[in-house]
Amino acid sequence: MNMTQGQEKPRGMTIIVKNITRLIAGFIFLYGVYIVFHGHLTPGGGFAGGVVIAGSFILLILAFGSQEITEKVSYSFSSLFESLGGIFFLIIALLGAIAGFYFFWNLLPKGTPLRLISSGIILPANIAIGIKVGAGLFAIFLALAATKYIMEE
């Protein structure tokens, strides 16, 4: 019999890392959302903000460790969200064509410049790209970190 049987090996990193991650992971996520939503006003946008959002999730997985079940669930969710983001972006592009103009026609009102709700389809397209990039990078990270859990049927 194994001596360590019944004794769970502690997952993740030390308690210092865990506490600091607990404090700042939400702020990192919020910062990513801010960059996505202000893509048409300040530097950044869907790609940069999506990477920051994926970084917050990756930090959580790295600090707290992961179990088979959490990896499977978060993997299926992230690949679902990646596909949804791509479809959302395509629908935004197609709406311009359906409305009678051309692909990627800016069909929403432009609004006043420098407001959050302005510049037509650029804001929803940034949100779609942010979802897609964040979920896609997190899915790649999970696939590279947890191949043996996810890929074995």
Partner: protein, 176 residues
Amino acid sequence: MIELYLLIIAMLAAAIVAIEIKDLLAAAVAVGLVGFTVAIMFILVSAPDLAIVQIVVEVLTVVFFAAVILRTTHIDTTIGKGIDKEIVFPQVCFFIFGISFLIFALYALKDLPPFGSPIMKVANTYIKEGLEKTGAANLVAAVILDYRGYDTLGEATVLFTSVLGVLAILRKIGRK
């Protein structure tokens, strides 16, 4: 713009060398020459960002080619074997379609301004009219999501394909 024509002639010569030379390592170097000539052309028409990307891609390509060639063989065995009968029909089709495409392109491209002049014409239009046409204060967002939405759609497709590629490669190992 005489230097652009000199660079194009150098590219053509390097491409012909890359196809016809017998030593594969020399062919890889000739392919690299074509790519670096493209990088110089990007610098001449005021696109340094594209030039940097082109240099990185070209260095990686040549390094990969050289790594494969040094581990396998130097000699191109397909040269000097005569004409393969199976590829005659595709090649004839290629020449017919290529020549007809060139003829129509001559008609279609007659109204375009000459290559590389005036430099930054499109960029100046974006800077002048970007804010009022799109309403986006960030000009980069205006360009990538409004003027060039197709380009961004292609980038999103590239990301999707890379995710698919990573999963496909890892799945094979996972299944043993």
